[in-house]
């Protein structure tokens, strides 16, 4: 039966796919010109890209770095033979004001302090962000950093932050002692109480006494000299760092079986999420002093920090609640069957998983908070936007739009975009599911 003619007996040699299917040509055919509609869209997009780039690139490449005013920039451009409204950017404004855009009105001879603070911030964050690549010992520095950071920025005697730190030590000591002798709950309550008493009544006096004896410190800088990206990053970092633990507490409160705790959390979260941040900033700038004991007048940046933190923590709580809700019930039951108590279960089983699930949400909340720091310009703080109004009001730079806003937008873009990329990296690293 082997002589049937219509059946081929040997393989044909392999042949290359047609040229229109492979390589650059094939890619273009499949991705850009697969149908008529796609072809039209491609050509439209190319035209748009050309139009935008042809407008932007010559404008950006403009020899005005040394311009001293807008008129001067125009002269430089006219000398180079470029006339018209969009003939070129006036980069002189950035050259002239970039230090101000970064540091605000911080004294120039003390610039090393914010620089050191933000470099050390990197050191403190490294063991948290890249836990697998950094020595764990560095975490001690991360724990101390929250006390170092305000001292470097605001200056003043060193004893204030030290005494504040001591409050935590005292609280923990009381907690540990009571926890061993009696119960965890009582220890928690007494520990918090002891720390609160220390901070409210004793720390101030102790700090004053010690700075009388040993005057070690940095030159103090007032809050109203803070400004620029330094202020944005300060508010952003503090709000982000404080809102995560607060948000976790609120989320747990909202999920709790204890009715009163639950409704207090729900009420807080829904209230804060229902009002715009700007009204909370109004509260910070106008009302917070009214809510405090008569005679208190605490710093405007501190007030803003408190309100922004509260605002961020409500959003954070909702994100984390989503993560908690996404956990299968079996995880809770598993923790119970191991005999873990509530806090152990949360710490060892629930939270690591819930936080992992909610990473994208957490990071987008972070980005949102950081972007929202620009709102402080409305209540008169000199963040980059507030400064840009100042600069635009200056007669030398009156009429500058694109360069200034473009610069600020670019810096925000870089910071926010790198945060979102980091979150993607983290998601990939912690990915334990099967794909």
């Amino acid at each position: 039966m082997s002589d049937i003619a219509y059946s081929r007996t040997e393989m044909l040699p392999e042949r290359e796919p047609p040229a229109s299917e492979i390589g650059v040509l094939g890619w273009i055919r499949h991705n850009l010109f697969s149908t008529w509609l796609n072809a039209i869209l491609t050509i439209l997009s190319l035209a748009l890209i050309y139009y935008v780039l042809a407008g932007i690139i010559p404008w950006v490449l403009s020899p005005t770095w040394s311009g001293t005013s807008l008129a001067d920039c125009r002269d430089i451009l006219a000398e180079a033979g470029r006339e018209g409204h969009f003939s070129g950017a006036c980069w002189g404004v950035i050259h002239d004001r970039w230090l101000q855009l970064i540091f605000g009105f911080y004294p120039a001879e003390l610039y090393w302090r914010p620089i050191a603070a933000f470099l050390l911030l990197g050191v403190a964050l490294a063991p948290v962000l890249f836990a697998d690549k950094m020595p764990a010992k560095l975490l001690w520095f991360s724990a101390l950093y929250p006390f170092l950071f305000p001292w470097l920025l605001w200056g003043g005697p060193i004893w204030g932050p030290v005494m504040a730190l001591l409050g935590f030590v005292i609280g923990y000591a009381v907690f540990a002692a009571v926890n061993n002798a009696m119960s965890t709950l009582l220890g928690l309550i007494l520990g918090v109480l002891a720390a609160a008493i220390w901070w409210l009544f004793l720390a101030g006096a102790a700090a004053e006494m010690l700075s009388g004896i040993l005057p070690i410190g940095l030159e103090p800088v007032e809050s109203r000299k803070f400004g620029g990206f330094m202020l944005s990053i300060t508010i952003g970092v503090v709000a982000i760092a404080c809102s995560l633990p607060l948000g976790i507490v609120l989320a747990l409160g909202r999920q709790s079986d204890l009715l009163i705790v639950k409704y207090l959390s729900v009420g807080f979260i829904e209230f804060v999420r229902g009002v715009p941040l700007i009204t909370l900033l109004f509260v910070a700038s106008l009302l917070l002093n009214i809510f405090m004991p008569p005679g208190t007048d605490f710093d405007i940046i501190l007030r803003v920090l408190i309100m922004v933190t509260l605002f961020a923590s409500a959003y954070m709580a909702e994100v984390i609640r989503g993560g908690l809700a996404a956990l299968p019930k079996g995880q809770y039951e598993g923790a119970d069957s191991l005999g873990l108590n509530y806090w152990q279960a949360q710490r060892l089983i629930i939270m690591p998983q819930a936080l992992k699930i909610s990473i994208p949400g957490i990071v987008s909340t972070f980005i949102g908070v950081f972007k929202d720091t620009t709102l402080v310009s409305i209540i008169g703080l000199m963040d980059p936007l507030g400064l840009s109004n100042n600069i635009r009001a200056d007669s030398a730079w009156n009429g500058i739009v694109w360069e200034l806003y473009g610069f600020i937008a670019a810096v925000f873009f870089i910071l926010c975009f790198s945060m979102s990329r980091y979150s993607m990296y983290l998601e990939r690293k912690l990915q334990t599911g099967h794909r």
């Binding site: 697969s34 409305i378 936007l385 925000f412």
Partner: protein, 422 residues
């Protein structure tokens, strides 16, 4: 000989409040409530003391005093002799206007961009990614002031429209003028108007509703209802006989003809903006502040909505498309009958929160001088009267009410499209 007996009944001891899980939750709650009440009492006490020291007891009487400031972009009639309450009311309407406009524009833009991001065309998908990243990673306030500055600095001034050597000209057949003072568009006028319906008499909340508008809405609604009846009838005939009668001209007619008759009867015409003196007059004037806010909020929120739409469509498994295609549905029917209804369930909850965000972000109007509720009640009224506590409190309550209303309405809608599980 001893007999075994039940262990002795334990009496209640104080330490059980801490160690016994039956009582411990009660202890925690009491402590929490106690702390909360302590905090509230402390805050209230401080407030009362401080206000007494300032000599400003809480008093909402300022609402009936004349506002004596002007609001230039408004829906209702208002003049500077009106009360602060009316100013706040006008501001509230301005907030709602910009929120509504922004939500509609952002949804349209966001859906288009979200779908285009999934386009098989590589270039288009990349361009949309650039758009989304560009708008998501830059603060919305920056976009608002940026667009405002662009509008003021780069558009022609009304002067440029004048004379024989005019450097700028009106668009769309001399009906729209885009200037650095705002955009002038034709306004709708009726030469035989039915007049206005005055609600709430002469009080601060007086509200004029145009009877023409009501008449138009009624006729339009009736036309749409009849058109639906015709469609139902056509459906019925199709089910019985298998052939569908051609009804499109009937359906178009019942909507368009009565509406056209009504408009002619009312003497409908456009009032064109025209250059008079130093500025345009006639037509509707959309101020730069409104346009900047509207544009910036829409473009910014559209980036977020695009991501939500993309996520929603991607969440529907590919098998759904394939199954629908296997049944012989055309791609458009697949989208509208199979993919979108399912994707909507994923899309709607985050969409609600984006509408809420847009509404709350409209409070940034204060940065460009658009007189929304933050600009009136939380801005000039507060500065003039010095009643910070009352104004900020009311402002928060207003926004809270708006937020709760939006989320209630959208949740109701969400409930209606939700998967019905049995």
């Amino acid at each position: 000989m001893t007999t075994l007996s039940d262990p002795p009944k334990e009496g209640f001891r104080l330490s059980m409040l801490l160690y016994d899980t039956r009582y411990r939750s009660g202890t925690i709650q009491v402590v929490a409530l106690f702390c909360f009440m302590l905090l509230a009492a402390w805050l209230l006490n401080n407030t009362i003391q401080n206000l007494a020291a300032l000599g400003k007891p809480i008093d909402f009487g300022f609402f009936s005093e004349p506002a004596s400031y002007d609001i230039n972009q408004r829906l209702l009639d208002y003049n500077s002799r009106d009360t602060h309450l009316r100013a706040s009311f006008v501001g509230l309407l301005n907030t709602l206007v910009v929120a509504f406009l922004g939500c509609v524009t952002a949804t349209v833009l966001g859906v288009v961009i979200g779908v285009l991001r999934l386009s098989p065309n590589w270039l288009v998908a990349r361009l949309m990614t650039v758009y989304v990243e560009m708008f998501r990673n830059v603060p919305v306030l920056l976009w608002i002031v940026f667009i405002m500055a662009i509008l003021i600095e780069t558009l022609p001034s009304p002067r440029a429209f004048r004379g024989d050597d005019a450097t700028a000209s009106m668009m769309l057949g001399d009906s729209v003028a885009v200037t650095n003072r705002g955009v002038y568009i034709p306004e709708v006028l009726f030469s035989r108007s039915l007049g206005d319906l005055h609600l709430f008499g002469n009080s601060s909340l007086r509200f004029d509703v145009s009877l023409d508008l009501i008449a138009i809405l009624i006729v339009l609604g009736a036309g749409l209802w009849v058109s639906r009846r015709i469609k139902h009838r056509a459906d019925g005939i199709q089910e019985q006989t298998g052939t569908r009668p051609t009804t499109w001209y009937l359906r178009l007619g019942v909507v368009a003809v009565p509406l056209a008759i009504l408009l002619i009867a009312l003497g409908f015409h456009f009032g064109m903006p025209a250059l008079k003196g130093f500025n345009f007059s006639g037509g509707t004037h959309l101020r730069n502040s409104l346009i900047a806010l509207w544009l910036a909020l829409s473009l910014y929120t559209a980036a977020f909505i695009a991501e939500i739409v993309r996520g929603g469509i991607m969440a529907i498994s590919r098998g759904q498309t394939e199954a629908a295609s296997a049944l012989g549905l055309r791609p458009r029917r697949v989208m509208s009958l199979v993919i979108l209804p399912q994707a909507l369930r994923v899309i709607i909850p985050p969409l609600i929160s984006n509408y809420l965000n847009l509404t709350k972000n409209s409070s940034l109007a204060i940065a460009v001088g658009y007189m929304d509720i933050t600009g009136t009640l939380g801005g000039i009224t507060m500065n003039q009267t010095g009643r910070e506590l009352e104004c900020v409190l009311l402002l928060m309550l207003v926004y809270l009410a708006i937020s709760l209303t939006i989320s209630a309405v959208m949740n109701w809608y969400n409930e209606s499209v939700k998967l019905k599980e049995r």
